[in-house]
């Protein structure tokens, strides 16, 4: 735990034991107003996140998956209060962040850091690596002497596998994978308990992605970090996450351990999502049963009544339009699912239309 040793004693907060709850989110709701630019009138609301609940323990990774626009990033940002929630509670270290004032929030923010997708735009191009990583240390007055701060930066760089000799260089001199390491070093500077990782490897090539994934796993083991891991790549999420929450149009539709969700998905959306992942094994080509969903995700400004997935669901019945399914384990599957008819995968229709007549 290199970075811990450099933090002055008075600034150390007790590190939660592995398994101890670090973050608990209850009924989180985020609505964005949609305004007309000309009339300055509110036209409606985007229901980006609606009644989302989950918790994460020290040393644990919760994966948030779902299609573009389903509310993953908004959830992640709201947890850090980088976006204001409309409703709900965010308990961090037992305190409700939404009731904290500026000072209290600032104090808690040290313990929770974010790493974003794009290593190209998230680092200030005019700052050296040293000043980028040192910035949070300065802001929080972690060291009296500059030499102590420098040494701390060097240790952080070593922690993420970068040579401290490179600290005088600028972000553009580094590759995508290296820049992501710099972002991670900066996020670790204040010895946080929770890292929010929003698509941290999505813009990286496979071989570089593997380096960063391995680094994140190793850091978690060493520092008992809790991770909220947002991604759309279901293979990466399966590899790195202990538990998974599947989102659709602002709702969590299914959640459980990675094994439960990947091996026995009970929500039709989860089943479709998993079946759509291309498997890198040509021998399985004929054996994959792919569920092709109808149409596109509806607008979050006007989500469907009842079950939000019903416009694309092949199992939808009348009840689905009337009654919003709760996220509960109805039929003893061992994990909750927000579907009135939650069940283990059964053959679903493959293609909903067969185009014919290309030859005109």
């Amino acid at each position: 735990m290199v970075s811990l040793e450099m933090v002055p004693d008075s600034k150390i907060e007790p590190r939660p034991a592995p398994g101890q709850e670090v973050l608990r989110v209850e009924d989180l709701t985020v609505h964005f107003p949609v305004k007309s630019t000309i009339l300055r009138r509110k036209l409606g609301e985007v229901s980006a996140v609606d009644g989302v609940s989950f918790s994460i323990a020290a040393g644990e990774t919760l994966g948030l998956v779902g299609e573009s626009g389903c509310g993953k990033s908004t959830t992640a940002l709201a947890v850090l209060r980088l976006v204001e929630a409309t409703d709900g509670h965010i308990f961090f270290n037992g305190k409700d962040l939404r009731t904290l004032g500026k000072g209290g929030l600032r104090h808690q923010r040290r313990n929770m850091q974010i790493v974003l997708q794009d290593p190209f735009s998230s680092l200030d191009p005019r700052m050296t690596v040293r000043s980028i990583v040192a910035e949070p240390l300065k802001v929080h007055h972690m060291h009296k002497k500059a030499s102590d701060r420098n040494e701390h930066v060097n240790e952080l760089l070593q922690l993420v596998g970068l040579d401290p000799a490179l600290a005088t260089r600028y972000p553009h001199e580094f590759s995508g994978g290296q820049r992501q390491r710099i972002s991670i070093a900066r996020a670790l500077a204040l010895d946080p308990k929770l890292l929010v990782l929003d698509e941290p490897v999505s813009s990286l090539d496979v071989s570089i992605q593997a380096q960063v994934v391995n680094l994140l796993e190793e850091l978690q083991d060493r520092l008992s970090l809790a991770y909220l891991f947002v991604a759309h790549d279901l293979s990466v999420v399966k590899h790195i996450c202990d538990r998974v929450a599947v989102m659709y149009l602002g709702h969590i539709v299914e959640t459980g351990t990675a094994d439960e969700v990947y091996n026995s998905p009970t929500h039709p959306y989860t089943q479709a999502l998993l079946s759509a992942v291309p498997v890198p094994d040509p021998e399985q080509r004929e054996h994959t049963h792919r569920i092709i969903l109808k149409g596109d995700v509806p607008s979050p400004m006007d989500p469907p009544s009842g079950c939000r997935f019903r416009t694309r669901c092949w199992k939808a019945e009348e009840r689905c339009a009337i009654e919003t399914p709760e996220l509960i384990d109805r039929f003893n599957h061992g994990h909750p699912s927000a579907c009135h008819f939650a069940n283990l995968p059964t053959p679903a229709p493959t293609a909903d239309s067969t185009p014919k007549g290309w030859l005109g």
Binding site: N214, S275, P282, E283, R290, S353, P355
Partner: protein, 383 residues
């Protein structure tokens, strides 16, 4: 395990004449910081009805190598040399721009990653498709072209095609635009369809929809398809044959099952083992140290040598460029001096974990085995 490679019908066609044949294609791009050697002498063929996958990391030259075929870039800064590039008996490199226009879009059509940039934003989707039909077939009436365009939109699953015909590109969702792009590309029943990362910008369930239509379109017209992607999953699912590119060169090519079963270039091996998988449990991902080279200064000898687990600092890797040579299995080639050391068919095989023999690298670490714990801090060498 080592069942003989099954021949697909498309494979059988491989005995006949290639539809397109590329020889020693070299593309250089002048930039402020020097000349980028984007494509460094590649040769390949595609046969009628075949799906050829081109895979490789970002910057490996996939896009430039196909856009060079269609002369999509202004020269300068782009310089194309080598050749010939033979399509139906004519050398595309020597064709006048006027004759080229008759081939582009008519006989060879292209689908890009971002359909927003390939459609004209101020014209309706429908008009653009009917124009594409009429440009290559003057005898067809405006009305007939319109009817055909609506029919095509319906075929690729665009809902209410009559109404959608009149809409502009920004009124379509990403997945729908990409399906409209397929409709436009297929409108003239091209002999060759080039799809460059056609689903990379799309969500996985939308990707599944788009691929379904792409497959059907390809099967029904029996067009040959070049599928460019960085996603080995898509390759495994769709391609008949695969080219693996690294630093502007083809480093391996093989029928798809053979490539995944018996990869014979260290880069391909590493790529497959660094992949987190949904179908297989992997304890620890293998990594490739460092990052892809700067193609203004490609490394001497084998361009992969600074990152290769098999090189063991051998002199030959640093000094001698490995040629793409035939291996024992028909159609399997590899550009590695030591590819025989990777032959898993003759070595003892492990189970399905994709974990082949652990090979010790020069630093004494196992670089590509799933069990290695010391390789994730690859010293990146390009900074």
């Amino acid at each position: 395990m080592a069942a003989p490679v099954k021949l697909k019908p498309a494979d059988a066609a491989a005995a006949g004449q290639p539809l397109l044949s590329v020889r020693n294609l070299t593309t250089q791009i002048a930039t402020e910081t020097g000349t980028v050697q984007a494509v460094r002498g590649i040769s390949w063929d595609i046969y009628p009805g075949e799906i050829l996958g081109i895979v490789g990391e970002s910057g490996s030259g996939k896009s430039v190598s196909v856009s060079s075929l269609l002369k999509l870039h202004p020269s300068p800064p782009v310089t194309i040399s080598g050749g010939p590039i033979t399509f139906e008996g004519q050398n595309l490199l020597e064709l006048s721009e006027r004759r080229f226009r008759r081939i582009r879009g008519r006989q060879i059509a292209m689908i890009f990653q971002d359909p927003m940039t390939s459609f004209n934003p101020v014209k309706t989707i429908g008009n653009q498709i009917s124009e594409a039909i009429r440009v290559h077939n003057r005898r067809i009436s405006r009305r007939a072209a319109r009817a055909r365009a609506i029919e095509l939109l319906g075929m690729v699953g665009v809902p209410r095609p009559m109404a959608r015909y009149k809409q502009f590109p920004h009124e379509y969702s990403g997945g729908m635009r990409q399906r409209a792009m397929i409709a436009m590309a297929m409108a003239n029943q091209p002999k060759l369809l080039i799809a460059d990362e056609p689903t990379t910008a799309l969500d996985v369930t939308i990707q599944a929809q788009v691929l379904e239509f792409l497959k059907l379109a390809q099967q029904e017209t029996d067009a040959a398809l070049i599928l460019i992607t960085h996603d080995l999953g898509l390759i495994a699912e769709l391609a008949d044959r695969v080219l693996v590119m690294y630093a502007g060169k083809i480093v391996e090519s093989a029928p798809v099952r053979e490539l995944f079963r018996n990869p014979r270039h260290p880069y391909t091996v590493s790529l497959l083992e660094s992949l987190p998988r949904i179908d297989v449990e992997t304890e620890h991902l293998a990594t490739i140290p460092g990052s892809p080279p700067n193609l203004v200064y490609p490394p001497p000898g084998c361009a992969f040598h600074p990152r290769c687990f098999l090189s063991h600092q051998r002199e030959r890797c640093r000094t001698e460029i490995p040629e793409l040579v035939d291996l024992e299995v028909r159609g399997h080639t590899s550009a590695c001096h030591f590819s025989h050391e990777l032959d898993s068919e003759s070595a003892p095989q492990e189970d399905d974990d994709g974990d082949t023999s652990a090979v010790t690298n020069g630093d004494g670490g196992t670089q590509h085995a799933n069990t290695s714990a010391d390789s994730e801090h690859g010293q990146e060498v390009d900074a």
